[in-house]
Assembly symmetry: C2
Homo-oligomer: 205 residues x 2
């Protein structure tokens, strides 16, 4: 969504219940996001960002060069291997509890299998995970002492990757995941304000 | 050193004992590396890489665009806040023990102050730190499932940053910091072979 706004493209957004995703676009993808652009279908947010930069090269880049494209994959990998598992250990039961009944059944079953234990066990150390979370943001915190965004002087897709993980945490759990006077919080708030403050209007649902 | 080789520049390398650094180039920098290029003096490996790309734009780029320049700072920040502290908790006493007497005194004093406790306490959980280290490399491991280098299809300065941290560990401690059949080990070995296998000839001296 921020990638589309970054490119200045008009779009319509359709939030999907988990159990509806496989029925959309003839079962094109088991996961969201899915982008339909004319007759093009693309799934996965990184693939979508790559597609948008290729399809609309005259609009602001999401990567700003080949090096940025390559290193955004490292940023994504950091977010996926460090932030996502920690957020899961904090939020997985909150997410479950905000779903409707059909999605709840699907979510509990698929996540219990994926995580290898009951959701209640996954969040057993929730308070300790919340307390430990700000330390995980140390790489962003140090980077912010050099520049205002992961993308440098202005945000790129790499910022939206990390923002997306923290936004996911924000809308599913009430936990404060920043430290006191945390520059990462200021960066996150700045991201919420980007592109007509689109991020602020996103709620659990 | 790999940055200079990457740019295809001739250079002479002068390893410096800790206690000699402040006397070099009229006390230009308290830390290494220091680059002298004609009448230019630059310290700090990131600053040196930026300088080289600006001074020699016709040679292979170390960043490959503005996005790469910005995101390399995130890679550096990850290395500095995650890998360096862990390597310190594994290697600080090994480093101390390989120094000559004058450097030992300086090193023990400065590191004890910086770390807030005796070096022997810092490495008290050395075996557990070694066992936990491969998990810290998860972002690199996942990234390698998409591309062979942090820089993409070929290495950039971002690769040399992470390589440098692991090379520092390699030459100071005998510990194996990779998991079994670790793609990160293969990437590291590939980096050792870059630019006429310069990395392989580096020893504790």
């Amino acid at each position: 969504m921020l990638s589309l706004a970054h490119k200045g493209l008009d779009f319509e957004e359709r939030p999907l219940p988990f159990t509806v995703i496989p029925t959309v676009e003839d079962g094109f993808s088991r996961t969201v996001p899915i982008l339909r652009d004319g007759d093009q279908l693309v799934s996965d947010s990184f693939e979508i960002a790559l597609y948008l930069d290729e399809a609309y090269p005259e609009r602001p880049s999401l990567f700003s060069g080949d090096g940025g494209k390559a290193m955004a994959r490292f940023v994504e990998s950091w977010s996926q291997t460090v932030l996502h598992p920690a957020i899961t250990r904090i939020a997985v039961l909150d997410i479950h509890n905000m779903l409707d009944e059909q999605d709840r059944l699907y979510f509990r079953d698929s996540r219990t299998k994926a995580l290898g234990r009951p959701l209640e066990d996954v969040v057993a150390n929730r308070q300790a995970e919340i307390a430990a979370f700000p330390a995980l943001l140390a790489p962003i915190r140090r980077m912010l002492s050099f520049q205002p965004f992961i993308g440098g002087t202005s945000p790129l897709f790499a910022d939206y990757i990390v923002f997306g993980a923290l936004q996911w945490a924000r809308i599913t759990t009430g936990a404060d995941l920043f430290s006191e006077n945390d520059p990462v919080r200021d960066w996150f708030e700045g991201c919420l304000d980007l592109h007509d403050a689109r991020g602020r209007s996103v709620t659990a649902a």
